[in-house]
Symmetry: C2
């Protein structure tokens, strides 16, 4: 997907919501049954119920891999069910040497039709670049993550460079691609850091997890992280997809998504 | 697998060879046919031909994911084909927040029966710990990788700590588990750095890729990286599995593996 199309979707829907399909087979409503078929039915119902409220879906590969090859098949069918109007993210957090990375790019961009993959920066440029060689596809690079132990390494200060490791990751990796094929992951649980991040990457889109169950504030993310094109995809997973746990799970999910969309609409209108 | 059993295997076979099954469906000998079935037949033949020469197999998940759910099934069947005498590594390079990491641990340690998974350290302790809670399973943490752009971030000097990022990764993460459930990835292409690494982690096993096609030297790895228990798993992928490309691919692979085993035997005997 081109950046212009993503921005157009955000304007049209007055939403920058990404819904995270972290579908845990053990948390699916009993009415759907069990196993991979139930997981797929759950995803399809959740997608169908929320299409007009979000601009993106993010599939967390771990939950599918936990179910083995049958789970992987559910992932394939889920991404195929998401219309092309929506930005399809594989939250796969991959990263390997060049010849291996080419295989990952093939898996997510060719064998499946994702628009973007999340990536670890640790191994440097040649672990990211093969993803940037696919037209209209995106690399979403981990910068400052939402988990408590992000402080173990990501926020360490460097000796010969200004600032901290995650800032150096943004500065360096921003030069490998451009604002039309690279995003950064920056957790909502550290919203005040978005000010620094916007100095380093004023025009990049940011994928922001951590709103919802993890406790990040949408208003703070907007205040410190938005730019003139919005520049944000805010992901909510559990607070939407597990809003209900009965046969009305899809309506409950829609209702939770509607809450986020309404707040986003008001933030976007206030700016315009 | 317990550390004692791994050491016993190394002594018995006089080998610390790990064979990397980076099986590229497009590079399989034509005599095997095409697609997932051919990939599985290739892997089984390569495993059967080399069992007595190596102590470990490493499956590079990217090559299987590139083939979709059918490829994932080949991975499941391949790991099931490797006997319990051998240390089974998923070279998956995962790393995510706690609740997601639990799913990855489930995928590789329960749904499949791997002994170990390679992991990115970037997100810190809570992205590694769920792997350490499985008895007799291992986390293999990326420290200094074999690719050229390892220099982008891994070797950066830190301000308030001694040394560089990868050294800090080893120092910190060595305290999360112990020498019976944690290894580090350290590339053979930077063998002289193994001296530093052995100061930080004298008793840990190191998984060393980069010998073979990537050009690292087995002798240097041994010289700078071995400890009294051997402490090394040296991985060779392409130089073994693509030693031949005709119907005698398994014999050619065995012959290449034999070459490495003979060198390892001589290094181990020289020490003893």
């Amino acid at each position: 997907m081109k950046k212009e199309k993503l921005i157009e979707q955000i304007r049209q829907k007055e939403s920058f919501l990404c819904i995270g399909l972290d579908t845990d087979a053990t948390l699916i409503p009993k009415s759907l049954g069990k196993g991979p078929e139930a997981m797929l039915a759950f995803n399809k119902a959740m997608i169908d119920a929320t299409l007009d409220l979000c601009v993106s879906y993010k599939i967390n590969t771990a939950f599918y891999e936990a179910m083995g090859s049958e789970g992987w098949k559910v992932m394939e069918k889920t991404v195929a069910h998401i219309p092309e109007s929506h930005f399809r993210i594989a939250d796969a957090k991959r990263g390997d040497i060049g010849n291996t990375t080419q295989q990952y790019a093939r898996a997510f961009f060719e064998t499946m039709n994702f628009d973007a993959v999340t990536l670890h920066p640790y191994m440097g440029r040649d672990s990211i670049e093969p993803f940037l060689n696919h037209p209209d596809k995106w690399a979403i690079i981990l910068a400052l993550t939402s988990n408590p132990s992000a402080e173990d390494f990501e926020t360490m200060e460097l000796r010969h460079q200004e600032g901290r490791l995650y800032e150096q990751v943004i500065q360096k990796s921003a030069t490998w691609g451009n604002t039309g094929n690279t995003m950064f992951v920056t957790g909502a649980t550290r919203a005040e850091e978005l000010t620094h991040i916007r100095k380093l990457a004023p025009d990049h889109f940011l994928l922001v997890p951590g709103v919802g169950t993890q406790g990040g504030s949408l208003e703070d993310v907007w205040k410190y992280g938005s730019n003139k094109e919005c520049g944000l995809l805010v992901n909510v997973s559990r607070a939407i997809i597990y809003a209900g746990n009965d046969s009305d799970f899809a309506e409950k999910g829609r209702s939770a998504a509607q809450g986020y969309q309404t707040n986003m609409q008001s933030l976007l209108r206030h700016q315009a």
